[in-house]
C-alpha cells in the first residue's frame, strides 16, 4: 500500500496492477442537463469500487458510460487498455464488461439456461454444448443449478438477480458493473445476492458497484466514491471514507443514511 495518505479526491488505485477502467475528464449531458461533470477515475484490475450518493447524482449514468449504454460528450474512457470509440472497440469493450441491473432485466421468454447461453452463442460464437456447460457452471457458482430449466417469472427476486449475475459471468468479463443490484429486492433476499457478489470479489473480479449497502462497502470495497450533482465529491478507502470524510456533503449524506 504505497499510498496511505489518501484523502479527498485522490485517485490512485490501491493495488499495483494494470488499469482496468480509466475515465478522464468525462462530461455527459442529457440535452441541456449536465449529468456528469469532469469525471476522472482510474480503477485497477481486481479493484472493488463502491459508488454512493443521493438520487439523481449520476451514479447510474457513470457506470452506464463505461459500456456505452450512454454516450459521453467529452473526455476519454478506456477499458482494459481499449479506448471506448469506434464500433469495433465498443463491441470489444462490451465483451469484457458485464452488467447487472436493479430490475434484473432477465429475458422473460427464455429459460434461465437460455438466458445464460444467448450471448456466448451469439457474441462469442460458442457451440451450444460449450455455452450450456459454461452456463451450468456459473449457475452452480451462484447456487441455483436446479433452476436452469425454469422461466425467470418462476423465480424469487434474489434468484433472478443471481441468474443475472451468472448470465453476465458467462461472457467471462474482466469488469463487472452493478447498478443497485439489491434495491429491488425484499430484505430477506438481499443477503444471498450480496454473498454472491462477495464471492466474486474474493475471486479477484474488478467491480464497480452502485449501492447503498454500506456494510458491503465497508467489508468489500477498496475505495468508496461519493457522488453529488454529477461530480465525484469524495473518493477514499472505506475506513477513511466512513470515519473522517473530508467533505461536508459526504458527512451530510452519511448522516442521512445511517
Amino acid at each position: 500500500m504505497a499510498n496511505s495518505s489518501m484523502n479527498g479526491k485522490t485517485d490512485t488505485p490501491r493495488r499495483d496492477v494494470d488499469v482496468a477502467v480509466r475515465m478522464e475528464g468525462v462530461d455527459k449531458w442529457y440535452g441541456t442537463f449536465q449529468a456528469l461533470k469532469d469525471i476522472t477515475l482510474t480503477v485497477a484490475g481486481g479493484e472493488r469500487i463502491v459508488i454512493c450518493g443521493p438520487s439523481g447524482s449520476g451514479k447510474s449514468t457513470l457506470i452506464r458510460c463505461i459500456n456505452q449504454l450512454e454516450v459521453i460528450q467529452k473526455g476519454r474512457i478506456t477499458v482494459d487498455g481499449i479506448e471506448l470509440s469506434g464500433r469495433k472497440n465498443i463491441d470489444a469493450i462490451r465483451h469484457e464488461v458485464g452488467m447487472v441491473f436493479q430490475q434484473f432485466n432477465l429475458f422473460p421468454h427464455m429459460t434461465v439456461l437460455q438466458n445464460c447461453m444467448l450471448a456466448p452463442m451469439k457474441v462469442r460464437r460458442a457451440s451450444r454444448a460449450e455455452a450450456e456447460a459454461t452456463a451450468r457452471r456459473y449457475l452452480e457458482r451462484v447456487h441455483i443449478p436446479e433452476q436452469a430449466e425454469k422461466y425467470p417469472a418462476q423465480l424469487s427476486g434474489g434468484q433472478q438477480q443471481r441468474v443475472a449475475i451468472a448470465r453476465a459471468l458467462c461472457m467471462n468479463p474482466k469488469v463487472m458493473l452493478f447498478d443497485e443490484p439489491t434495491s429491488a429486492l425484499d430484505p430477506e433476499m438481499v443477503k444471498e445476492v450480496l454473498d454472491t457478489m462477495i464471492d466474486l470479489a474474493n475471486e479477484g473480479m474488478t467491480m464497480l458497484v452502485v449501492t447503498h449497502e454500506m456494510n458491503f462497502a465497508r467489508s468489500v470495497a477498496d475505495r468508496v466514491i461519493f457522488m453529488d450533482r454529477g461530480e465525484i465529491v469524495e473518493m477514499a478507502p472505506p475506513e477513511e471514507f466512513f470515519n473522517n470524510p473530508t467533505h461536508e456533503r459526504t458527512r451530510a449524506f452519511l448522516g442521512q443514511i445511517s
Binding site: V97, F101, F107, L118, A119, K122, Y151, A168, M171
Partner: protein, 218 residues
C-alpha cells in the same frame, strides 16, 4: 330480364372468392414484410429514418385505400407502364398494410421495457440479434390481437379493389344481384363467405395467444 338465382349463380359468387383470397394474401404478405421494415425504421436511432417513416405512415393512414388503389393504377400508366391491375393492387395494398401494421408493431416494440434491450446491449449483442432474439419475440406476444384485428379488416377491405377491375366477392355479388334481384339472399351468402374466412383467423389468433401465454407463465 330477371334471372332466377340458381346453382350457377351461387358458383359464380363462390369462385369470385379466389380474387378476394389472392388480394388478401398479397396484402398480408406484402404488409407483413413492409410493416416489419416500417416498425424497425420507426424505432431506429436515426432521426432522418424516423421522420421519413412517420411521413410515409401519415400519408397512407390519412388517405382512403380507395384513392391509393386509384393512384397506384393510374400512376402506373402515367409512369409509362402498361396497366396491370394486379400489380397496382399489390402496390397499394402493400403500402396501405405496411403503414398500419408498421404503426401497430412499433407500439408493440416500444412496449418491451427498455431494460431488455439494454441488457442485451450490455451482453454485447448487436442490433440484429438484439431485435431477433430479445425484443421482437416479446413484441410478437402482444402484437397478435391487434394484428389479427387489422388483417380481418383488411380482408374485408379488399373489396375496394373492384374499383380497378377485380371481380372479387363483393363485386361479383353486385353483378349477380343486378340480374337476379335477390339482394337479401345474395348478400347473405356473401356475408357468410366473408365470415367463414375471418372466423378461422380470429380462432387461430386466440390459440396463438394462449400458446404464448403458456410459454411464459408456466
Amino acid at each position: 330480364m330477371i334471372r332466377p338465382f340458381g346453382w350457377n349463380e351461387f358458383e359464380l359468387i363462390l369462385f369470385a372468392v379466389r380474387w378476394t383470397i389472392v388480394l388478401a394474401v398479397m396484402a398480408f404478405v406484402g404488409g407483413g414484410i413492409g410493416g416489419l421494415i416500417v416498425a424497425l425504421l420507426r424505432t431506429s436511432d436515426s432521426r432522418v429514418l424516423r421522420v421519413a417513416t412517420i411521413a410515409f405512415i401519415r400519408v397512407f393512414q390519412g388517405t382512403p385505400l380507395l384513392m391509393q388503389l386509384f393512384l397506384a393504377y393510374f400512376g402506373m400508366t402515367i409512369l409509362g407502364f402498361s396497366v396491370n391491375p394486379l400489380v397496382a393492387a399489390m402496390v397499394a395494398l402493400t403500402a396501405h398494410a405496411s403503414a398500419y401494421l408498421g404503426e401497430i408493431w412499433r407500439g408493440c416494440i416500444e412496449a418491451v421495457p427498455s431494460g431488455q434491450s439494454e441488457a442485451a446491449t450490455a451482453l454485447g449483442l448487436r442490433y440484429f440479434n438484439r431485435m431477433r432474439c430479445v425484443v421482437l419475440p416479446q413484441a410478437a406476444r402482444i402484437a397478435v390481437p391487434p394484428t389479427v384485428g387489422f388483417l380481418v379488416q383488411l380482408l374485408k377491405e379488399t373489396s375496394l379493389a373492384s374499383i380497378i377491375g377485380f371481380v372479387e366477392l363483393t363485386r361479383q355479388a353486385q353483378i349477380i344481384d343486378s340480374v337476379t334481384f335477390r339482394p337479401f339472399l345474395v348478400f347473405s351468402i356473401v356475408a357468410a363467405i366473408y365470415f367463414a374466412m375471418c372466423w378461422p383467423l380470429s380462432l387461430a389468433a386466440r390459440r396463438l395467444e394462449r400458446k404464448f401465454a403458456q410459454a411464459t407463465a408456466r
